[in-house]
Symmetry: C2
Subunit: 258 residues, 2 copies
């Protein structure tokens, strides 16, 4: 049995999220089907973590084991040939059998895009939150986000009903930045952490937007964090603005040497 690690992208618009569910088109099921048709084997793939309905991925990482003589390069080409247009495999590598894409995660980065202009962008409408009720103060949002960096109990930013043991996570980096020139109506929010609670980025974004639109002061997101109570945070931002950008692993999980 060989183990493979895949770097994949998907447009989440037409998927009911990651995880296989009866009667729903999901990323997991679509990818497992493609692998089965290429390798002739029924495989079970594991990802770095689930993404919700409508959430996109630039760099999701998944792994599976299969008895196959195909090289990583041939697998990459064959999978892209059989996958539908809204998923692609960016890279395939062979890894040690003990690599676990969920447990071995060291860092993950998410990006959230807000289109803060008066008229919708017809080409990027599926990939942003179109916020057109006034101009957001992105600099205030950035300053308000900085206290979230560090190791904290993020339960204020977790949607109820999830089953985690702990809601303590470490945010390594966070920023809110308005574009310039042709991108001046676009606000990018990025968060990098050792892990994320359910809907955590979308809850942070929804909270920062309350600051950006002047409804809450810059000090508010830090207060929400300290409260450790989901009911005090802002609304959850819609899924279509969210992208899983990158998953980083500990060195010991890296691929097999050539």
């Amino acid at each position: 049995m060989r183990s493979f690690k895949l770097l994949i992208s998907y447009d989440g618009t037409n998927f009911f999220g990651w995880q296989t569910q009866p009667g729903r088109r999901t990323v997991q099921e679509t990818l497992e089907g493609a692998i089965a048709s290429v390798t002739g084997q029924s495989v079970h793939i594991i990802s770095s973590g689930r993404t919700d309905t409508g959430v996109h991925a630039l760099g999701q990482v998944v792994a599976f084991g299969a008895e196959t003589r195909l090289t990583p390069h041939v697998l990459l080409r064959a999978l892209n040939a059989v996958l539908p247009q809204d998923i692609s495999v960016q890279d395939v590598s062979e890894v040690h059998g003990d690599f676990h894409p969920t447990h071995d995660v060291a860092r993950k980065r998410y990006r959230y895009l807000i289109h803060n202009g008066p008229v919708r962008d017809v080409f990027r409408r599926r990939y942003c939150w179109h916020f057109n009720q006034g101009v957001l103060d992105a600099e205030a949002m950035h300053r308000a986000a900085l206290p979230l960096i560090g190791t904290h109990d993020f339960s204020s930013f977790e949607t109820a009903g999830s089953e985690r043991n702990s809601s303590v996570r470490t945010i390594f980096d966070i920023f809110v930045r308005r574009g310039s020139g042709e991108e001046k109506d676009w606000i990018t929010i990025e968060v990098e952490a050792d892990g994320f609670l359910y809907n955590m980025v979308r809850a942070i974004v929804g909270t920062l937007v309350e600051v950006g639109r002047g409804v809450e002061p810059e000090s508010w997101p830090a207060e929400v964090l300290r409260a450790a109570d989901r009911s005090v945070a802002g609304p959850t931002a819609p899924p279509q603005g969210l992208f899983l950008v990158m998953v980083d692993y500990e060195e010991r999980s890296e691929g097999i040497e050539e």
Copy 2:
């Protein structure tokens, strides 16, 4: 009767081009329907020119006359509220009744996007030609394109069956440019002219790609131009990479002064 000029964008993916046809979803019909629902009047809109099935517009210009007391600003908001997500109105202005969006065109600019990378981009797949049979030499394509600048008979780059009186047009500007950094797999081709023949940009792009992939020499597009014979040009590039970027009018056609 007042006359209005609209600047519109559309994602051409799900339209059978511009012009109303029975049983087909077209941009013209969709826009006329929205204007009728906002103004209560059946109007006939005229555009700067048709776009083909699958071709996009960043800045198409259209005009119509209507008996309405709505201001341009109210019209803009109301139209965007009723239009489907794949069309938007970027600007509305009131113009003189003698403004004609087709006849008064001074310059038009088209952009063509080629994704020249090995794996499809799931987010931009509808808005590019994914060319993955080798790396195109964008610098050679650029040099090969420069002789097209000027006033020439472009009949080599016109799809047969069109009904123009003359196939002489003036190209003011043309370039082929590969992006850098994250955009290094993307090639942008732009052409600005006083007018375009049917499928002219797509025929030019298809011809330049033959140079970029090394099948034809850099001197070839100039030879194709001189031949004035469509059968010698390269294949027509697919529609989904093409965008109408901008339409410019003579000063006399500008809007009514405030």
